[in-house]
């Protein structure tokens, strides 16, 4: 399958975003999908009288857990082991993949079925398994669609949000070898075709791989929430179950699930309750998998945790509410972010987890409109973290630069700061700007600007600077008042 054939090198964010903006069909698909889900989410959260209290509880539980993460992870390990499971620790993607590959190899399986999981996408597990000739079959409908299309998911929860029904029908006809007239683009029929294909896989595959939405330190229970029931099949039918989980997903107590099982479905699918919540604890004689492995993945998380401002990012429960409300995500789609984590959460998570140069553009891919923070069920202050990451990007670029001279932007910002640090310099700059604009004024407006400002004038006019600044007006006014009255009391114009 081409999706697993090779690691794609994604375009840099800005290029990818510009290309995506040209794709009118995708823009329509995304606008329709996000508008619908936004309204639904708003409805099912507004109906909750204690929604803000739930959010606060979610944030507090996560913050507490993260502050005591080592403790809760060790407890989780002890509980899982006591229940007959095995816990493995993986520092990074390579270690996690090697662990899964060894476990699969030991069973001799050629295929594994998968529950939709961001974490296994993060580590590129399907690709790693393909190197051993093992085929990973996605069983979530949307994941299956993007897998069959040889693409990458473009949304955390609705991986095929960029595709419409007609496109999916064409894909199934090809992939399942159906006669074109045998399948319409009716959603029920499309789901039926996928179901028939998947049922066979569930029945003859002995090994399943999942992620985890939550794991309870107290009991050693692992939890996956989903809508289709495919996850339930994967976690109950095969003889071996391997779950790969980021270390930040642990919760202290069983009762903490009460908070998150309300926050998550309402924020993500806008359901009051998701159709399937699977919770399993170790292994049980004659019921479910005979072997259970839990792989605890770091992959940049402990570094993020060490960061005072950034650590809040690890509260994320991957609900995707922030994607759905993000005006930038709505326009550019998920692929532009070059990661399994797109949208606002991707813009703060990728630069911290991966630390790759290409991610430096991501914190700037936001107007700081705050829509993400407003909906986030664990109250992650995404705009604040974006601003912080921008600061770090600037500092890092300075350190990295081999030349003693700053970049053009850096130089301009330093110059501006110098101007703004003193009102006399600032007033002189205002006068200079009024002269400087003259060559660019056409028919009473600035219609084409030079240099880095050219991007502005492609679609917008700018009015020319007026003859008088406010402060000049104020001074004339105050002077006039002084002239008419001996005592104006306006001694502020020092």
């Amino acid at each position: 399958m081409s999706a697993e054939g090779a690691a794609r090198v994604p375009l840099p964010y800005l290029q990818a975003a510009s290309a995506a903006l040209q794709d009118a069909q995708q823009r329509r698909n995304l606008a329709t999908a996000t508008t619908t889900i936004r309204a639904k989410r708003a409805a099912v959260t507004e109906e909750m009288p204690d929604w803000e209290a739930l959010r606060a509880a979610g944030a507090a539980i996560k913050a507490h857990t993260l502050a005591n993460l080592a403790h809760y992870l060790e407890r989780l390990e002890a509980s899982v082991t006591a229940a007959g499971g095995r816990v493995h620790w993986a520092r990074d993607a390579a270690e996690a993949n090697a662990l899964v590959r060894d476990l699969v190899r030991a069973t001799g399986a050629r295929e594994v079925i998968k529950v939709k999981s961001m974490t296994t996408d993060e580590i590129g597990l399907n690709r790693a398994l393909a190197e051993d000739g093992v085929r990973a079959i996605e069983t979530d409908l949307a994941e299956l669609i993007v897998q069959l299309a040889g693409e990458a998911p473009s949304h955390i929860l609705v991986p095929a949000i960029h595709k419409n029904r007609a496109e999916i029908r064409a894909l199934f006809v090809r992939a399942f070898g159906l006669a074109p007239e045998a399948l319409s683009d009716d959603p029920a029929e499309l789901a039926g075709a996928a179901r028939r294909y998947l049922r066979e896989r569930f029945l003859d595959t002995g090994i399943a791989v999942s992620g985890a939405n939550f794991a309870v330190a107290e009991t050693g229970s692992v939890c996956v929430v989903e809508s289709e029931g495919n996850g339930r099949m994967c976690t109950t039918l095969p003889h071996t179950l391997i779950s790969v989980m980021g270390i930040e997903k642990v919760l202290p107590r069983w009762r903490d699930l009460e908070v998150f099982l309300q926050l998550l479905p309402r924020s993500s699918t806008a359901e009051r309750m998701n159709p399937y919540t699977s919770v399993w604890t170790g292994v049980h004689e004659g019921d479910g998998p005979r072997a259970f492995h839990l792989i605890l993945l770091d992959n940049g998380r402990s570094r993020t945790l060490a960061d005072e401002v950034g650590r809040e990012t690890l509260r994320c429960i991957r609900c995707s509410a922030c994607l759905n409300v993000c005006p930038v995500y709505e326009r550019v789609g998920g692929h532009a972010y070059g990661s399994v984590y797109p949208g606002p959460i991707g813009a703060i998570l990728n630069p911290q987890l991966r630390d790759e140069p290409r991610d430096e553009a991501l914190p700037y891919a936001s107007t700081l409109c705050g829509a993400c923070f407003e909906v986030c069920p664990v109250a992650i202050d995404i705009p604040r973290i974006l601003v912080e990451l921008r600061h770090r990007t600037v500092e890092r670029k300075r350190e990295r630069s081999p030349l003693p001279v700053p970049s053009a932007e850096d130089a301009a910002m330093q110059l501006a700061a110098g101007v703004f640090s003193n009102h006399r310099r600032y007033e002189a700059a205002q006068r200079m700007a009024r002269w400087g604009q003259l060559p660019f004024v056409r028919q009473g407006a600035l219609r084409s600007l030079p240099g880095p400002l050219a991007g502005w004038s492609v679609v917008r006019d700018l009015r020319p600077l007026p003859r008088q600044t406010f402060r000049e007006w104020w001074r004339t006014r105050t002077a006039a008042e002084r002239a008419t009255s001996a005592d104006t009391g306006g001694g502020d114009d020092a």
């Binding site: 800005l14 975003a17 510009s18 903006l21 005006p327 930038v328 326009r331 550019v332 700037y364 891919a365 936001s366 107007t367 700081l368 409109c369 705050g370 829509a371 923070f373 407003e374 601003v387 921008r390 600061h391 770090r392 600037v394 500092e395 932007e409 850096d410 910002m413 330093q414 501006a416 700061a417 703004f420 640090s421 003193n422 009102h423 600032y426 205002q430 700007a433 407006a445 219609r447 991007g455 502005w456 492609v458 679609v459 917008r460 006019d461 700018l462 009015r463 600077l465 007026p466 008088q468 600044t469 406010f470 402060r471 000049e472 007006w473 104020w474 009391g489 502020d492 114009d493 020092a494």
Partner: protein, 262 residues
Amino acid sequence: MPDLPSSGAPRVARVPQRVAVFVPCYVDTLFPEAAQAVVVVLERLGVEVAFPRAQTCCGQMHVNTGYQREALAMVRTFVRAFADAEAVVAPSASCVALVRDHYAHLAARSGDAALERAVADVVPRVRELSEFLVDDLGIEDVGASFPHAVTFHPTCHSVRMLHVGDRPRRLLRQVRGLRLMELPRSDQCCGFGGTFAVKNADTSAAMLADKVADVIGSRAEVLVAADNSCLMHIGGGLSRQRTGVRTMHLAEVLASTEGAGA
């Protein structure tokens, strides 16, 4: 430009207060009429207005683009300029949000304890215009008249950072003759975002196109907002597309009185 205080406007009997206005750099330089309108409205309501000349810029562009170190100079300028002000009133939600949300940690990071104290002292006195009018003065009817079809863009920073809620609308509803038209999808960001408009020019343009379409859909003659930065962006698009829709700052509408052709 609105006229100077109209004698016809009702005088609100209140204890006059003394406030300093903060006129953000882009308002001072590009949109002086908005700041003049702030002065007009406040004085009409019996508030004594001062303009400390030492003020320059709050540092929003620097902070939001990642130049925190440089922004510190502006934090210092700001707190020095307004050290003695009873209240600081600014016609820009995004600048007020910057001051409120970022000054404390910028000062803390600088390691300058005196600056930290100065920030803690000044910041609680900073108000966005509609906050000052509705909360501090307790006034919704400022005695304005503006017989036009107006639609209001609630800017992201005023709604989501400052939580001004419907204060601007409450002020607009009391303006004589003003017809408030509904702006479809008004909660959607216009796509300005400061340097975002230049750094992510294509995305910003796509968002602008949708906002311009919604403004046209509102059938208003005038688009009003409480922040000139978003207005500069949306107004630039409205002008380029020759839509004929004008943009005005909230303060300009509130400053307009009968007979004053705005």
